[in-house]
């Protein structure tokens, strides 16, 4: 028996869709392959069964079907023409314009997210805060030796403390 079966070419052969070269190739195979001949017979039967059974499907009353279709079409055409009427079109455009303006306003008032790069104004506002923390940085050796939770009061009044020991030593 031949190694590869032209399975997917069997229906096209049945329906006369293959060109001359393809037809010869498949026909040549069929002459030698009983399995494919049987398969082609079964496919033809199934195709015929499907086709015949679909014909049995009940159908609606066609005049009523077309009347319904005409109504749907008229309704759709009317809806479209109503939309394009100048007053409706202008009202829709005005609504859309207000919507866009509100969206733009909301976007412009939205605070920048924390992940984004701070803008120049924001940097300027942060500078005084950093200056206030300078005393804390100057007394860092003292802070290092403190237990944060127990000596919160000390940290709060760091600016009132005398200069750190190493500063004192240097001066003396």
């Amino acid at each position: 028996m031949p190694a590869s079966h032209p399975e997917t070419d069997l229906v096209p052969l049945l329906r006369g869709e293959l060109n001359a070269a393809e037809r010869d190739r498949v026909q040549h195979h069929l002459d030698r392959c009983e399995q494919c001949r049987e398969s082609m017979g079964a496919l033809a039967t199934t195709l015929h069964q499907v086709s015949a059974r679909l014909e049995e499907l009940p159908t609606p009353q066609w005049s009523a079907y077309r009347r319904e279709l005409r109504l749907k079409l008229a309704h759709r055409t009317e809806a479209r023409s109503r939309w394009w009427r100048p007053s409706v079109a202008w009202a829709s455009l005005a609504t859309a314009g207000v919507g866009i303006a509100a969206l733009l306003l909301a976007l412009s008032m939205r605070p920048s997210s924390p992940g984004t790069t701070p803008e120049v104004d924001q940097l300027a506002m942060e500078q005084p805060a950093e200056a206030v923390d300078l005393d804390l940085l100057r007394n860092y050796p003292v802070v290092e030796r403190l237990d944060l939770l127990e000596n919160y009061d000390v940290i709060e009044h760091l600016d009132e403390l005398p200069p750190a020991e190493h500063d004192h030593d240097k001066r003396s």
Binding site: E7, T8, D9, L10, V11, P12, R15, E17, A42, L43, T45, T46, L47, Q49, V50, S51, R53, L54, E56, L57, P58, T59, P60, W62, Y65, R66, E68, L69, K72, L73, R76
Partner: protein
């Protein structure tokens, strides 16, 4: 006008000819409805979706460039609407799950909508058609559409490939696998 081809009628529809549109609908209504019914498995949905496809046809006939057959173009519109409808349907069901009768013991007993037709409907349709509908449900959407377009509409593999936006070889694989699976399911029944 009756002797005009689908493509010529479509051209007239693009120019606003209502009579040409009526004629195209008459020519394709049964096939469009049956195809939608086979894909969606519901008569009312098939009615709605096939009518929507005709509305699309009316509104966008000028986009038909005549490079493919009218039927290929129209069935692509219809199949896309069916797929969209199924997707939407699934989305709604996920969002608003239907409550089970056990949720409210005082609620009146109402027969829930069943995907399987009742005995009366089955009798009208014929057992073999009902079985086919159930068997089609077991195929993948692409296999189902490929088989239906081939068996019902007589579209070629190349045209089915155009509708499904895939290669011709892929369309052939869908048809082959779909038919093999249908054969197996129908035989088992």
């Amino acid at each position: 006008m009756a002797e005009l081809s689908d493509e010529e009628l479509c051209q007239k529809v693009a120019n606003g000819d209502a009579q040409a549109f009526e004629l195209l609908v008459e020519r394709h209504q049964a096939r469009a409805y049956r195809l939608a019914c086979s894909i969606l498995g519901s008569e009312s949905d098939a009615r709605d979706v096939s009518q929507d496809a005709f509305i699309r046809l009316y509104e966008s006939a000028n986009r038909f460039d005549g490079r493919s057959r009218f039927s290929t173009w129209f069935y692509r519109v219809l199949v896309n609407l069916c797929i969209d409808h199924k997707r939407r349907d699934r989305w709604w069901r996920r969002l608003v799950p239907l409550s089970s009768p056990s949720d409210d013991p005082d609620a009146p007993a109402i027969d829930p909508a069943s995907p399987e037709p009742g005995p009366e409907v089955a009798a009208i349709l014929g057992q073999s058609t009902v079985k086919l509908g159930e068997a089609l449900e077991h195929l993948s959407p692409n296999q189902r559409i490929a088989v239906l377009l081939q068996a019902q509409e007589g579209l070629s593999s190349r045209e089915i490939a155009e509708v499904l936006k895939c290669s011709e070889n892929t369309a052939r694989v869908h048809i082959h696998r779909g038919l093999i699976q249908l054969k197996k399911i129908l035989k088992d029944d």
